[in-house]
Each structure stands twice: as C-alpha cells, then as structure tokens.
Amino acid sequence: MEQANTFRSGPNEAGHFGMFGGRFVAETLMPLILAVEQAYDAACKDPSFQAELDDYLKNYAGRPSPLYFARRLTEHFGGAKIYFKRDELNHTGSHKINNTMGQILLARRMNKTRIIAETGAGQHGVATATVCALFDLPCVVYMGATDIERQQPNVFRMRLLGAEVVPVTSGTGTLKDAMNEALRDWVANVESTFYIIGTAAGPHPYPAMVRNFQSVIGNETREQMLEAEGRLPDSLVACIGGGSNAIGLFHPFLDDPTVQMYGVEAAGHGIETGEHAASLTGGRPGVLHGNRTYLLQNDDGQIIDAHSISAGLDYPGIGPEHSWLHESGRVNYVSATDAEALEAFQLCSRMEGIIPALEPSHALAYVSKVAGDLPKDHLICMNMCGRGDKDIFTVAEALGTKI
C-alpha cells in the first residue's frame, strides 16, 4: 500500500479510495450520477449552500449536539474517561438528519421533484421522510419486509410524515434488497427523482458526499473536546453498518496521528457462526451497489445475507472509504455480538439514563471491553449516533419480555 501523507484527500476524480469506491452502475444511471457530482461540486463552491445547510442543522435539527462526559459509566469501568457525542439528540433521533438535510437541499438545487430512499432500521427513512415533509416533496422509502416487521414504530413514523413505505420482499427482504429496489426505482424515474442514499456507500460521489455531510459530527467533537479537555481525544469509537456515523466522526481526525479510531462491526451470533454483518472482519473485496468494497459473499461472488440484531447494521457491505482505511491500517475495525450489544444497551439505560439505539450499543460494547484497562487520563469519545426508542420491541423480545 502506498504511504499517504494525508488520509483525508480521497477520493480521486474517479471516486476511488485506493482500489475501493468507483461508479459501478447501469448506463441509465450514469448521466445522472455525473449530474449529481457536478451539482454537488457546484454546491460545495457556493457559500450560500453551506450557509443554508448550517441554518437548518442549527435551527431545525438542533445542532451542535452536546459532548457529554459519561461519569457513571467511566466510574463503572474504572479506566478511560468516556465521552458520548450525543447525536441521538438530533431531531428524528439519530445522525441521519445531517445527511438527509444536505442531500435534499442538493435535490432542490437540481430541481428534482421526487425523493426515494432505502432504509434498514428506519432511521434514515424517518430522516428522509422528515425533510421531504419540510420541503413538500413526495417521498418513497424502500424497506425490507423483514425490517418492517422489526421496526414498526419507525414505519408508522414515516407514514405519519407523509412518506410511502414500500415493503421489499425480493431477496431476503433486508437493507441490501431495499437498496436494490431503490436503484430499480431510480432507473425507471431518473428524470424526476433524487435518490437520498443513507450511508457513505453507493456510487461516487455518494460516499464522499455523505461523509462530508456527516463530518459535522467530528468537526464539532474536535472543538468540544478541546474546550472540555484542552486536547484531542485519544480514541474514537463508532459502530459501523455502512459506516456513515463512523466516517463522520473519524474523518476530521484522520491526520491527527495521536487519535486512535475503532469502527465496531456487528458480529451477530459471532463471527465464527457465519451469522454476522462484519464485512471487514468476515468478508472480502467485491462490487455491489455502485462501489467496490468489502462484502459478505460466497466463493462464487454471490452476496450472503448479513445478520445482526440491529437492523441498521444488517448490511453485507460497508462504505468504500472504510475498506481503504482498513487496508491502510489507519482505523482499527473490531466487532461486537448481539449479546454484547444487548448488555451494553441495558447498562447504558440504567447507568446513564440514556436508552441507546442497538447500533451504538455495539460501539458501547467495545468501549466496555477496553475502557477498564486504559489509563484514567485516556479520553474516549464514542458516537451515540441514535436513540433506542425504536428498538424497545426488539430488545423486549430478546429479553423474553412481552410489552
């Protein structure tokens, strides 16, 4: 691997992060992908775009989100000082609004009149339905039938917000199939429709664009940590499905060599069982959904279903920049099982009065494994990227409780 002076310059013009990324889409979509790239580049150069986005993030989404010192958990583990970046306090309950707000402003600049999205846990679907309501644009959200079953509260929220939720039964009825179906819709409606992709994956420019919209997380963390501790954090921890909250937290720190980073993949029932969603730990490079990245696949290149208790991490791929950061060794990718996440979920609820989503519960599970062995002056910042209200039914079932 080439030794880079900076880890923050990617992707190149072709949308590649090293060998990862790219634009692997059907010709029907290609002119549109190029148009999105052009419009996004123009928006980046136009200060009024960022100003409008900042205004909505502040006054509508509620940014900046606080950086909170988790005192009781810190004492409980007895080692490193644990901070939560409170992105679960954003409007709609997760970091997803950072990205959907950015993309819908772009869609408006491109005069698109219809929005589509895919969703797994429903957080991205809710965040998309929300901005569509705000800007009065029709919204169609594709969601796997399996996920609809386990994320009923979010399905109802999307419908309340005026979105049409389309159940996807093709394949295995989870996030990857929802993304296939959204791409099929897009191919059929290229002229009117903008596809708001929810994670830092898909064809170029999406991975870079979503990362940039989510980088508000890391940029705020940097300032807030300097204010709170007078220095940068020692470790950053975030969960990874496609990896948008993680790349948003990590990216602004990639060139700070003292900051270690840990992306926590979902190990499901355990990597060794084969039933997991850890693309980096248990997969190999391939091409799906517009980009080359690590994928869960069999010997014939057929995509294998992911498994995680968390619908938001239940994806057989990962954003291409994470694949590159994995191979370059800049970020450490680890994993946490369903059981470990469930335990962290309950611990956090009882000790901090914060019910975390199952997704960041994976990040917290990793923190719980390492914090106790780290020195007391070691600063960990974990992204609390979503709240757990949506997960109470899943958790109740896992714990054998009827509600």
């Binding site: 029907t28 199939d177 191919v187 391939g286 014939d300």
Partner: protein
Amino acid sequence: MTGVADSGRIAKRFAALKAAGRGGLVTFLTAGDPDHETFEKILLGLPEAGADLIELGMPFSDPMADGPAIQASSLRALNAGADMGRTLALVRSFRAQDEETPIVLMGYYNPIYSYGVEKFLTDARSAGVDGLIVVDLPPEEDGELCVPALEAGLNFIRLATPTTDDERLPTVLQNTSGFVYYVSVLGITGTKSAAEAEVKQAVERLRRHTDLPIAVGFGIKTAETVAEIASTADASVVGSAIVQRIADDLDKNGRPSAGLVDAIHNMVRELSNGLRA
C-alpha cells in the same frame, strides 16, 4: 470498430442476417434456470428453434437492473446449484455441437471479479463465449474488464439508453464491439415496453454515431413486436417473457414439467416466425 481481432461469430452472424434481408432474434435466458440439466436441453435447441444470437445470464444474487422475472430466474438457478463454472460448462457443451451461433454472457460484475478477471477471460474464451454484457460496468470503469476483454478477443457489448445523449454516446461507443444493445425504456427488464416510433428515432440517432449492428431490448414480449423492432434495428432481444414462461411451468416444488423444453423451443419458434416471413 476497435480493430481488435475477436472470434468473429457476432460480426459474421449479423452479416449473414443482413444478406438474408432480415432482422435477428436474440434470446435471453438465465444459465441453469430452472436446473442445470433442463437448461442444457433448452440451450442446445435454441438455434434450431430460431434464436440467432444467445444471451446467457450469469446468475447473481442482487440483479439491480432487472425486474421480478429475471430476479426470480437468477435465484432459481442459484438454488439449483448454478455458479460461474457451470455457466461456462454450458457454453462448452453448446460449442461442441454449434460452431456458429454467437453466445454472449450477460450479468453483473461481482461474480466475474470474484472468479478473477484474467481467469474468467481465459476460460470464457476457451469455452466459446463471443461477447460480454456487464450491466454495472459503465465506460468510466473500462479498465476493470472491458479493455482486458477486448484484448482477450471477446466483444464487449455496451448498453445505450434513452439517457445516453448525443454528448455521451461517443464515450459509450468508444470501446463497444460486436453490437450495441439499446435499452428502449427507462427502467428495469421486463416491465414497460417502448413505443415503436421512439425506438425508430433512437435507432436512427445511434446509427449516426456507429456502424455496429444495433439490438433493441427491454419490454419486448410478442412475435409482432420482435418483427416490428427488427425492421428498424438489426435484432430484437426477448428475455423476461421467455424466463416468465419457465416460471409459469414450474410446480409448487419448483420442478419443471416434462414439456417445458419443447414449450420454450416452440415459444422461440413463434417469436422468430415474424422475422422469417
């Protein structure tokens, strides 16, 4: 043309069609659907039934550009044990009895990438494959497979679509060889069908940019449309309608009836009849 030497079967077949004064029928089926043995019988009888060129779908778990009929056919084939090795074995067995009918493999990049590009090109060429259509490899990714395929002597057939405007067409056509596959509708396979007038206009537009033969597909289901389209283009592609005929034949355990092979051949015969009137 690119000037790259290839098997020549595709060029020869289109030249023969031109000499005969008729358009061609391209049939699409997914390799190994509904099972390897049944499919092999279907495949071997296609030329006799009237298929002028054969597109063989390489099964993929996530066919993003395909409608429900072809998605289902891919899953049926995979469930019956299809993989790249068996797809190539089908081509070899076809070539053992037919030296002239071109075979084009169509599908998505990941199974090829997973197999290994170099090994795939060598094995495909030696099995008797003439061309490739890989839906998720636009010209922007030509270095991946298109250029190596041309160098290996395989045609790389590109899709042009209604969104491929005059400005973009030269980019799309640059490394295209064999023929151009015009996708006549915005959308996935087997859903909408195109208006004849629009197709005519699009084919004329393409002809201003290329001398390659033009095949038109997506949404063509009947013998009548096959003949109509092939009167302006050089060939019509029928896929979803044939694949759906397989789906309709299967019993609740997914097993084909004894008459399926003949039924598909009869269907292809009927589709091609209008071209030979």
